[in-house]
């Protein structure tokens, strides 16, 4: 079969593993400030890994789409280092704080602009808002088959065959191309790119197209913002932690006593 053209949607978010002391909720401004570097949302990394595995088997091309008010190509170049072929940034001040339908709308405009594609992959949900909507809505907007929660993705005979995680185990499903699949972490971690390779890539000039709303139909009335009424810090989850000190042996003895008390 012909070599598949794969589009991976990757969102840039603040490191979700940052300690909570680095997260500040500004109630007045209704803003969450995360003092942590930006990363590619973890499930989107899984989606990219799935795409790279398909490419390893069948060849083809992987295009990564990332959207936001301001997207860092330094963060996203990692996708190229790992095995993607092209990166397109969808960047516009108007893209800030959009609700899910609007995000999916912008992505669908960009994907239609790319024209030829066989497979669109997204993470099952983003690591910041954890809404899990955009991928599924995008499939609806593109009017293509939609499969969620993939743990393995293969393409053959013009169809995509997916093992999808379901509550009792997994389900094997199949759909004609083009199709959209949302990817779960059972697919596996995005391969590590050695720094030497990364360094070369970060230094090399690389054409990275940036598309704003004007390049995507200029349909501003389709974009709606999330309507945040209030933002509050969470209830305190902290407990008074007793640190068990001493030599390893003493620590083990005290911890054993703690565990035995559970009886």
């Amino acid at each position: 079969m012909k070599e598949p053209q794969i589009i991976v949607c990757a969102k840039q978010i603040p490191d979700p593993e940052a300690p909570f002391s680095n997260v500040t909720v500004n109630v007045e401004k209704k803003q969450v400030l995360v003092d942590a570097p930006d990363v590619i949302s973890p499930y989107d990394e899984n989606a990219l890994e799935a795409a790279i595995r398909i490419k390893e088997e069948l060849g083809g091309k992987i295009t990564v789409l990332s959207m936001g008010r301001k997207v860092s190509d330094t963060v996203l170049r990692k996708t190229i280092a790992a095995g993607a072929d092209a990166l397109i940034l969808l960047e516009d001040p108007l893209f800030e704080g959009l609700e899910s339908n609007s995000v999916a709308y912008v992505l669908s405009c960009a994907i239609k602009k790319i024209v030829a594609y066989d497979l669109v992959l997204t993470g099952r949900q983003a690591g910041d808002w954890d809404s899990g909507q955009v991928g599924l809505i995008l499939a609806e907007m593109l009017d293509i088959p939609c499969i969620s929660m993939a743990r393995s993705i293969k393409i053959h005979d013009g169809a995509v065959v997916v093992e999808k995680t379901v509550p009792v185990g997994y389900e094997v499903v199949e759909a004609g191309l083009p199709a959209l699949v949302t990817v779960s972490n059972e697919v596996g971690e995005l391969r590590y790119v050695a720094r030497s390779k990364m360094l070369g890539l970060l230094r090399r000039p690389m054409p990275i197209p940036k598309w704003g709303l004007k390049d995507l139909g200029d349909n501003a009335e389709r974009l709606k913002k999330v309507q945040l009424m209030e933002l509050a810090p969470p209830a305190d989850m902290g407990r008074a932690c007793t640190i068990i000190e001493g030599s390893t042996d003493e620590q083990a003895a005290r911890l054993a006593a703690v565990l035995k008390e559970l009886r």
Binding site: P14, P16, E17, P19, F20, V23, V25, V32, V34, P42, S100, R124, D128, W129, D130, S131, G132, I137, A139, E140, M141, C146, S148, M149, G169, Y170, E171, V172, V173, E174, A175, S184, N185, E186, K224, Q227, L228, M229, L231, A232, P233, P234, M237, G238, C241, T242, I243, I244, E245, T248, Q251, A252, A253, L255, A256, V258, L259, K260, L262, R263
Partner: protein, 328 residues
């Protein structure tokens, strides 16, 4: 625009507890708005389930029946629910934030040209204009957002335990047969087979021992297994092995063992976190454990902030020593 519609879910013919919670939630909202709350049962043969649902004091129960709705085929369910919503034009649609709800709700919202909020912890009505105000944790629970959305129906998926389960009443709801206008053409994804797997039910354990990114080698999980055996022997209870997300990413564990926002949410008697720094998405899954023990080399990690007992140590040194003490 006269009713609140909720989607009924069941497993092996038994009504899902989350659905009972939705019934309570929908009834409350309905009372506040002065409109009725209804439920829709989707499937091929739904009479029995519909009868059961009809005993919880709802205004109406819709039986959305069609041979294509046998089992959960997302394409068919979305198509049928789209048809129903266009027929009855509900003002609010509620679903559980479950396997079914997570897939159906976004696609349905898109087709109905409305906005959806997923994974809500609480719902209320804005007294000014009757809009549905949705409370949702964001940034893994580091902030709690109150949101409102455009469009009708007002749609949400609701996290489990957001409401108390509804109780049965003597009056029966009216049941309406609805035959959706759908056919084979809406099925774009073909199910080949479902493969059942042995699934660990972490919520049945008394003690869960979880490993995280700090576990440097897959084989080291044997240490955790040994520890589980030793604790089980010493205490005579059920001890299971869980993990945090990076371990599943590495394909060292299957996702049924993953504790956290996108895994299982548990509240065992004791939770032992080994080499888990405590990303908030993980903490959401285990914070309600009665006792939390953290073992980590980094004294400042989040896990120590939520633990009752902390040991700053390398698990590779500590666990062998601990095994000796438990056996001794």
């Amino acid at each position: 625009m006269s009713e609140i519609l909720l989607l009924v879910e069941s497993k092996d013919g038994v009504l899902d507890k989350k659905t009972l919670e939705l019934i309570r939630g929908a009834s409350g909202l309905g009372k506040e708005l002065g409109i009725g709350a209804s439920a829709v049962v989707v499937g091929n043969q739904t009479a029995q389930l519909a009868e059961e649902v009809a005993s919880f004091g709802l205004a109406k129960v819709y039986k959305l029946e069609h041979p294509l709705l046998e089992g959960f085929k997302p394409d068919a369910w979305v198509g049928a629910l789209e048809w129903l919503c266009k027929q009855i034009a509900p003002r609010i649609v509620l679903m559980s934030h479950s396997f079914v709800g997570k897939e159906v709700a976004p696609r349905l919202a898109c087709r109905l040209n409305t906005e959806l909020t997923t994974d809500c912890l609480a719902l209320k009505i804005d007294p000014n204009d009757g809009a549905l105000v949705r409370t949702k944790p964001i940034y893994g629970g580091n902030a709690i957002a109150a949101l409102r959305c455009e469009g009708l129906p007002q749609m949400v998926t609701v996290r489990k335990n957001a409401f108390e389960p509804a109780e049965q009443v003597t009056a029966k709801s009216d049941i309406f047969d609805m035959a959706p206008a759908i056919d084979e053409s809406i099925l774009r994804v073909k199910s080949i087979k479902t493969v059942p797997e042995q699934v660990v039910e972490l919520d049945k354990a008394n003690v869960v021992i979880s490993g995280g990114r700090g576990i440097v080698d897959k084989d080291d999980f044997q240490m955790l297994t040994d520890l589980a055996a030793a604790i089980s022997k010493a205490l005579g209870n059920v001890v299971m092995i869980g993990c945090s997300r990076p371990v599943v990413d590495k394909c060292w564990m299957t996702s049924d063992r993953q504790v956290g926002l996108t895994g299982t949410i548990i509240a065992p008697d004791a939770y032992v976190a080994v080499g888990i720094s405590g990303a908030i998405q993980h903490l959401v899954g285990m914070i309600r454990s009665k006792k939390i023990v953290a073992i980590n080399t980094d004294p400042s990690c989040n896990m120590f902030k939520v633990a009752d007992y902390g040991v700053v140590a390398d698990y590779k040194d500590l666990i062998p020593a601990l095994l000796k003490k438990l056996e001794g």
